[in-house]
């Protein structure tokens, strides 16, 4: 199918990944992709680009990431699929100590244009060795970029940009969103820009991944109760769109931060810290985080779901913040 920049179609987030990969590989012959089962699961890419550019690997995440880093340093633009976020644990050295640090340490001699894909989060109910949101680790590590889109369109556009970026970018796919459909185009979406999903004046709900929908749901309920909630989808966790965060919260004076990852040292902590420093004068109420528990995810769908931040909880917290100004300290 021939598509143009302006064509808008509905595809699932899973399909959006495939489209982004195919379009970018078509554009740039230096892009290649590999992972455990990549060739098996993407026969269309193998057919179009050949087995040299779409590869199955042995079962060894460390060498997959390392091979991506080495290839990136020397002329290729690899995309490595590491499947599930917890498996990144086997590849931390290559991602953090090599890909993230060696550009700086080499005085800029080498760049690492590589993309790492990993699914993350609840939605599958198979437990904590598949479901663990660790995106904050990479936000905390130098030289890396991190995105986690909440829509098919963002996934496609951000993945395309990630592949074009000359730095290592981790692209997290919220597994709970894989089958969600949405409009996509062929345009790349810049990293580092949040998306304001809903305008609002009383409180800003800040989120990313599947909890963006939780916030939109909460915002609708708040509207019914007469409160106007903005919903900001961070999308890009590193770089983080500080300007968009500050603009909305300076307007509303209140913020609720929602994500599935555990609270301590998570992305929500970073957002709250930014607000406490740079939106302090505008804050009318405490900044509250609502997150997944600081516990391993249970291996059962119902138990897993029961522990996620709910629209009810977000609504209640936001309503409480809006209920009245906290007395200003002397």
């Amino acid at each position: 199918m021939i598509t143009t920049e302006s064509t808008v179609r509905q595809v699932t987030l899973a399909q959006a990944i495939g489209e982004a990969l195919a379009e970018e590989m078509r554009r740039d012959p230096r892009i290649l992709m590999f992972g455990e089962g990549t060739a098996t699961k993407r026969p269309d890419l193998v057919a179009e680009f050949g087995p040299a550019r779409v590869r199955n690997t042995p079962l060894a995440e460390g060498i997959i990431a390392g091979t991506a880093a080495g290839a990136a340093a020397t002329g290729l633009r690899p995309v490595a699929d590491l499947l599930f976020a917890p498996f990144l644990c086997y590849a931390m050295d290559e991602i953090v100590n090599s890909a993230g640090k060696l550009r700086g340490l080499s005085g800029g001699q080498f760049a690492f244009p590589m993309t790492i894909l990993a699914m993350t989060g609840a939605g599958w109910g198979v437990g904590a060795q598949h479901n663990h949101n660790v995106e904050a680790w990479f936000v905390h590590s130098p030289g890396l970029k991190v995105v986690m889109p909440s829509t098919a369109g963002d996934m496609k556009g951000l993945l395309k940009t990630a592949i074009r970026d000359d730095n290592p970018v981790l692209v997290f796919t919220d597994i709970g969103l894989l089958e969600q459909a949405g409009p996509v185009t062929d345009a790349a979406i810049p990293l580092g820009r949040a998306a304001l999903r809903r305008e609002g004046d009383d409180v800003t709900l800040i989120s990313y991944g599947k909890t963006v929908a939780t916030c939109l749901d909460a915002a609708a309920r708040l509207a019914e109760q007469g409160m106007s909630a903005a919903v900001l989808d961070l999308r890009s966790l590193k770089p983080l769109d500080e300007a968009a965060i500050l603009a909305s919260v300076r307007r509303t004076g209140r913020a609720v931060i929602v994500h599935e990852a555990a609270a301590p040292c998570g992305v929500g902590a970073e957002v709250a810290a930014i607000l406490a420093e740079k939106a302090f004068a505008a804050l009318k109420a405490p900044v509250v985080r609502l997150t997944g528990p600081d516990a391993p995810a249970p291996g059962n769908f119902m138990l897993e779901q029961a522990l996620l931040p709910s629209p009810d909880a977000v609504t209640a917290v936001a309503a409480r913040l809006c209920a009245g100004p906290v007395p200003c300290p002397a």
Binding site: T57, A60, P86, Y90, G127, N300, M302
Partner: protein, 315 residues
């Protein structure tokens, strides 16, 4: 060395198959989550586990139901665990991919491929330092053998003289990748020599052969205190993770291995030994009945309070 009771082996293998079939049915009805079945691996599971002593400890991987049932796990409690119920072995929090059962000596089901290889050395170190009698059986796949932890684990076990019986269940598949795509050479056992570890390879479809090889290997570990690598050669007869249409599997290869279905191999042998088909069919019916009761048990077990998990994270 005790002898394998082939009818008992058939009972265990049939129960494993019935368990996995039941799980697949429950899955298709939306009553259980995705699972990696051990179909095709029954002879390896029962052969090896039957060669272990009660005091031996087990670590295994995502395809652990066979090992657990071979070890005597109650299918009702196992199913309850997979379905997230309070009466499961882990109180419902592990699901199918992380079942452990202290009372059975099953320390770990690791879903991180290689996790079992990473921890088994420590379990064996406890046995050795605390002078406990059992050896440690560590089950892993041909795919896991490509992870660096395989290398590190065998090397450390060799150098520290740890009583680990490594069992590589080579079923020719690593999720959606054929083993041939991931290594040169024809098996994992040959890699043990690099570490100074003895090894053997056995037909993983023949429970008697597996039992003999495992008993010999376990004896070696017990008497020398040193590790041993046993490779059981079989085939993953169902898909990687249910549901899986196996469209990527070479049909001829699959058909060839279906002809080696460990249950059929054993049945044929028992028939040749003179057992009546009716006697063998009774085993199947018995397993089915046990599974029916197991489903009823699991169904009746309540979901745990999700919040209870939070109290369990820290000791």
């Amino acid at each position: 060395m005790h002898l394998l009771d082939l009818m008992d082996a058939l009972r265990r293998m049939t129960l494993i198959r019935a368990y996995e079939d039941t799980l697949v049915t429950l899955l298709s009805q939306g009553r259980a989550g995705g699972t990696c079945t051990s179909v095709g691996g029954e002879a390896s599971a029962v052969g090896v586990v039957s060669a272990l002593a009660p005091e031996d400890l087990i670590l295994t991987n995502h395809r652990s139901a066979g090992h657990l049932l071979a070890r005597g796990a109650d299918p009702g409690r196992l199913l309850a665990e997979v379905m997230g119920r309070r009466d499961g072995y882990c109180g419902g929090f592990a699901g199918s991919l992380h079942v452990s059962a202290r009372e059975l000596g099953v320390v770990l089901t690791s879903t991180i491929v290689g996790g079992e290889l990473g921890l088994c050395t420590g379990v064996a170190l406890s046995q050795k330092v605390l002078d406990k009698p059992g050896i440690v059986a560590c089950f892993f796949g041909d795919g896991a053998a490509a992870e660096g932890r395989f290398h590190e684990s065998l090397n450390l076990a060799a150098v520290w003289e740890l009583p680990v019986l490594y069992i590589c269940e080579n079923n020719e598949w690593q999720a959606y990748v054929h083993r041939r795509e991931t290594m040169l050479g024809d098996g994992i056992a040959a890699r043990a020599a690099a570490y100074g570890v003895d090894s053997a390879s056995v037909d993983g479809c023949d429970v008697a052969a597996v039992f003999d090889a495992a008993a010999t290997a376990a004896d070696a570990v017990r008497s020398t205190g040193r590790p041993f690598l046993l490779e059981t050669r079989g085939y993953r007869l169902r898909g990687h993770l249910e549901p899986d249409d196996q469209a990527y599997v070479d049909a001829a290869e699959l058909a060839r291995w279906r002809g080696q279905d460990p249950l059929d191999v054993l049945r044929r042998r028992l028939e040749e030994a003179g057992l009546a088909p009716a006697e063998l069919d009774a085993v199947t019916r018995e397993a089915e009945a046990r599974m029916e009761a197991a489903v009823a048990f699991a169904d009746a077990s309540p979901l745990p309070d999700p919040a209870r998990l939070l109290d369990t994270v820290y000791a």
